[in-house]
Amino acid sequence: MKTRDITLHINEEKYNLTVDANQTLLQVLRSIGSTGTKYGCGTGECGACTVLVNGKTSILACLTLAALADGMHITTIMGLEKDGELHPVQQAFIDRHAIQCGFCTPGMVMKTISILEENPNPTEDQIRHELEGNMCRCTGYEKIVDAVQHARDMMKGETR
């Protein structure tokens, strides 16, 4: 088939869409206004298009065919804020000055959530290893690694 009718749940909103076979999830997300998810390379290297499946598994929207995402529950950067309250990971990125140009930030934040979902207590080394695949050219990663540790502590109810 050249097109497919799919149902997508994006940030808990349901979308009935007809998508082209060759459309990526990234193109579809961006076409319906979810522009927080970025195109950085299109080839799965930079991680700027990272979104979550079922609230925890990080995937690359640029290498996911929308036609095969039928029924998926996708969380994007634009679905994290709840009732005007930022997600602790978002707050940690602000507090620890982990944001410069901001283009990698949506992917970094989504990736961080998936890291902490899988392991709520990662060490700094584990965080660094897990962050591979999300590129940043502004920060040297120092303040991002710091923010992830801060988010880890906040989410455990501890703050350093």
């Binding site: 522009t35 390379c41 994007t76 990125f93 410069q100 591979e132 502004c138």
Partner: protein, 789 residues
């Protein structure tokens, strides 16, 4: 100076929330109704060729195609160069080095892989891409010149008749009384030297790799205005360059600067703007979106200047620096872009040490590679990588303590003009070195590493450097800022300041709030609007805080002067006696006689006569402060970098273990933001010396035009960074701040080179220092070859 309330605090960035929520609008996030899509057809199979035939007939029949622009369609426009030297340097100087603008929007002479041939306008991005594949081109291949030697051969094909011998740029030595850039007597210097060191270096072609690919929108609207949305780091010069290119009056060109997804120099001047604007002018009324692929970023936007550097230095036995003689020959790439990078290399080399005699010469030769342009550091990383390694060689040979040598011979404050030809007012080099030695544990590490065995060897290395705070006096420095005081005692700053992510918008807001005596929340900076914003150069040369920061500060002071004048008249006191606290204005002598700022501003706008005495309470009129600021000083920041590496002598692999970086920034406006940009600079500087280089095959086609094969340091590769900010007195910069934007990148390279030298006793003259080169050298020479001999 009274105590600072907002400046010097690591307040959260003003744009942090829009970025962390994904709501920041980068150019590609803007959706215009009914927009068309552009696609540039590029020559991908040749690096040097003439277009014999361009056949668009098949492409025109493709679905969705609206129009295809070919070279003939843009002949009515001027040619251009992507750089800004035509605006930032005086005409007389530009004439000396032969500033040219030879680049056409679409070419028939392909000068590098990725050169633009024609442009598709179609209804969708997919249709534009599909049609681009259907353009048929016949080429006459030309010889490919990948090195300066090949391109400057007398028989070589000429890139442009304006530049005989393919010499795009030559350092304008003839301008100076000695006949060269520098001072003293070079031959005499070498004759008087006890020790002479020389080396022929290669510095690599590094790519910016900003995370946001280039994206643009343009629309020629029904008022005959060309509107363009771009993430340029120089929106006002872009407006001027478009005016020159298309011949439109500046009142009919509006540049909307979007949020910038990283710049580092790649967005200095023009990139995709000429194409998207030409397309917009071809379909009046319709918005055009032009998105680059990541690959296009590599093949069609500029890189750092690469090339060779012949460096020769003479010293006395005691280390006295007698003579410096350098010739840098950069590969220019296919187009002129902008001229000065090679000279700036020399300017910054001259700025560092008290050589008794100094000469710097150099050129940039056209080659069939992607054109070189601006990249954070602008020539400084290249020269520092070489000079600091050669100095270390001398220190190691003579046993002179390298820290002591640097302390003794760096330039100082006062009458000693540094590279830019103006005296500096201060110098924190000694403090920087002391702090670095202590924080890094330089002596302790030297002791620990003194006796090593086994395959893994550690080494430590350091460097000292200096980088400008702005372009003055070599380049134009100018920022205009206005401050409108609202009737509710809040302020709008209008200034075309670019924030590449480093936090300029935050720092400027801090400066404005401090100068006005307002809270951060009461001040908003309106940027990126070329109608509302008057002239500013943009972000480059570590200049934004130095020049724009002072412009905004002075505009705020101008506004407050007007406030005090009104209040003084009302209170019948001398305005010089007035102070303001919590927006209440009074004199110290009579603190109960208060003018409320909000009332003063409100009644300046909503001004009515009193029915009692038919008088106005305050002078009428809204207060707008203004500054058109052009600095008359350029105090550089000094920085030192210390690294420890571990070399695996059996595989040549290298790990950077630690990096301490110290900068005498003066007063940091926002220390956390400064640390962040320095850490980012370190990541780029480590890449410059260790992993980053664009590779070409023998036909001039790029081998690593993706993140898969162009490798940068990731989170695991990064060493722990220790950033130390030394606060030294700064008399000129706003609130005592100096520029710091580029220094982070310039530092790690030479420190890494020197650490490798310390670990294995071998120096490398070609960066990046890859495991392949390291292992080959170890196999060929053995560890510490000089000591064994």
């Amino acid at each position: 100076m009274s105590e600072l309330k907002i400046v010097g605090k690591s307040v959260p960035k003003v744009d942090a929330k829009i970025k962390v929520t994904g709501r920041a609008m980068y150019a590609d996030d803007i959706h215009m109704p009914n927009a068309l899509h552009g696609k540039i057809v590029r020559c991908m199979q040749y690096a040097h060729a003439r277009v014999i035939k361009l056949d668009i007939s098949r492409a025109q029949k493709m679905p969705g195609v609206v129009k295809i622009l070919v070279p003939e369609d843009i002949e009515k426009y001027n040619t251009y160069n992507t750089g800004v030297m035509d605006l930032f340097a005086p005409d007389e100087l530009n004439a000396v080095w032969g500033e040219i603008g030879e680049e056409p929007i679409f070419t028939k002479h392909v000068k590098h892989q990725g050169d633009a041939l024609c442009g598709i306008i179609a209804k969708t991005e997919a249709e534009a891409e599909a049609a681009a594949e259907m353009v048929d081109v016949e080429y006459e291949p030309l010889p490919v010149y990948l090195t300066t030697e090949e391109a400057s051969h007398p028989d070589a094909v000429q890139f442009t008749p304006e530049k005989p011998g393919n010499v795009a740029y030559r350092v304008p030595g003839g301008l100076f009384p000695e006949g060269f850039y520098g001072y003293g007597d070079i031959d005499k210097g070498f004759a008087e030297s006890d020790l002479i060191y020389e080396e022929d270096y290669y510095v690599p072609k590094q790519k910016h790799c900003q995370m946001e690919p280039h994206s643009y929108i343009a629309q020629f609207d029904d008022q005959d205005r060309l509107n363009v949305w771009t993430s340029s780091q120089m929106p006002k010069p872009v407006q001027t360059k478009l005016h020159k290119l298309f011949g439109l009056p500046m009142s009919r060109i509006k540049v909307n600067q979007t949020v910038i997804g990283g710049g580092f120099g790649t967005r200095l001047g023009l990139i995709g703007e000429p194409y998207v604007c030409a397309m917009a002018l071809a379909v009046p009324g319709r918005a055009i979106k032009l998105n680059y692929t990541r690959e296009e970023d590599w093949v069609a936007s500029e890189t750092r200047h690469s090339g060779r550097f012949k460096l020769k230095m003479g010293f006395k036995k005691d280390g006295t620096p007698v003579v410096y003689d350098g010739y840098m020959s950069f590969e220019k790439g296919g187009y002129y872009t902008h001229g000065g990078v090679v000279w700036v290399s020399g300017i910054l080399a001259r700025g560092a040490y008290k050589f008794e005699n100094f000469r710097f010469d150099g050129d940039a030769i056209f080659t069939n590679k992607v054109p070189c342009g601006a990249f954070r550091g602008y020539g400084n990383p290249q020269q520092a990588l070489c000079m600091e390694q050669l100095i270390q060689r001398m220190c190691t040979d003579t046993g002179i303590d390298t820290i002591e040598w640097h302390k003794k011979w760096h330039r100082e404050a006062g009458g000693d003009p540094w590279g830019f030809g103006v005296p500096t007012m201060n110098c924190g080099a000694d403090e920087v070195l002391d702090r670095g030695v202590e924080s890094f544990g330089w002596h302790e590490k030297k002791e620990i590493n003194a006796n090593q065995s086994g395959p893994k060897r550690r080494g430590t290395g350091m460097m000292l450097g200096v980088h400008c705070s702005a372009g003055f006096p070599v380049l134009l420095e100018h920022t205009v800022a206005t401050v409108t005081l609202n009737e509710d005692a809040t302020a709008i700053i209008n200034c075309s300041i670019s924030d590449l992510g480093c936090g300029n918008h935050t720092a400027i807001t801090q400066i404005a709030a401090e100068a006005l005596g307002f809270s951060m929340d009461d001040v908003f900076l309106n940027w990126g609007d070329s109608d509302a914003n008057a002239f500013d150069i943009g972000a480059h040369a570590s200049r934004t805080i130095w020049t724009a920061g002072r412009a905004v500060k002075e505009a705020c002071e101008d506004a407050m002067k007007q406030v005090y004048a009104k209040a003084a008249k009302f209170l019948k006191v001398d305005p010089a006696e007035l102070v303001m606290e919590d927006k209440k204005i009074f004199t110290k002598e009579a603190p109960d006689q208060i003018v409320d700022l909000k009332e003063l501003l409100w009644k300046g706008i909503y001004a009515f006569m009193s029915p009692e005495d038919f008088q106005f309470k305050f002078d009428r009129g809204q207060i707008i402060g203004k500054a058109s600021f052009m600095p008359f000083a350029n105090n550089p920041g000094w920085y030192a970098c210390f690294v420890e590496v571990e070399v695996d002598t059996e595989t040549g692999e290298l790990k950077v273990l630690e990096c301490t970086y110290v900068n005498d920034i003066g007063q940091a406006i926002n220390p956390a933001a400064v640390e962040g940009q320095l850490e980012g600079g370190i990541q780029q500087g480590l890449g410059f010396s260790l992993t980053e280089e664009m590779y070409y095959d023998e036909n001039g086609l790029i081998l690593n035009n993706s993140f898969t094969d162009y490798k940068m340091f990731g989170p695991t590769d990064m060493p722990k960074c220790d950033i130390q900010l030394v606060t030294t007195e700064e008399q000129y910069g706003p609130y005592g701040a100096r520029g710091v934007g580029e220094a982070g990148l310039c530092a790690p390279g030479p420190a890494v080179g020197n650490a490798i030298f310390d670990a294995i006793g071998i120096q490398f003259n070609e960066a990046p220092f890859t495991p392949e080169k390291i292992l080959k050298a170890i196999k060929g020479k053995g560890l510490f070859p000089d000591k064994r001999a």
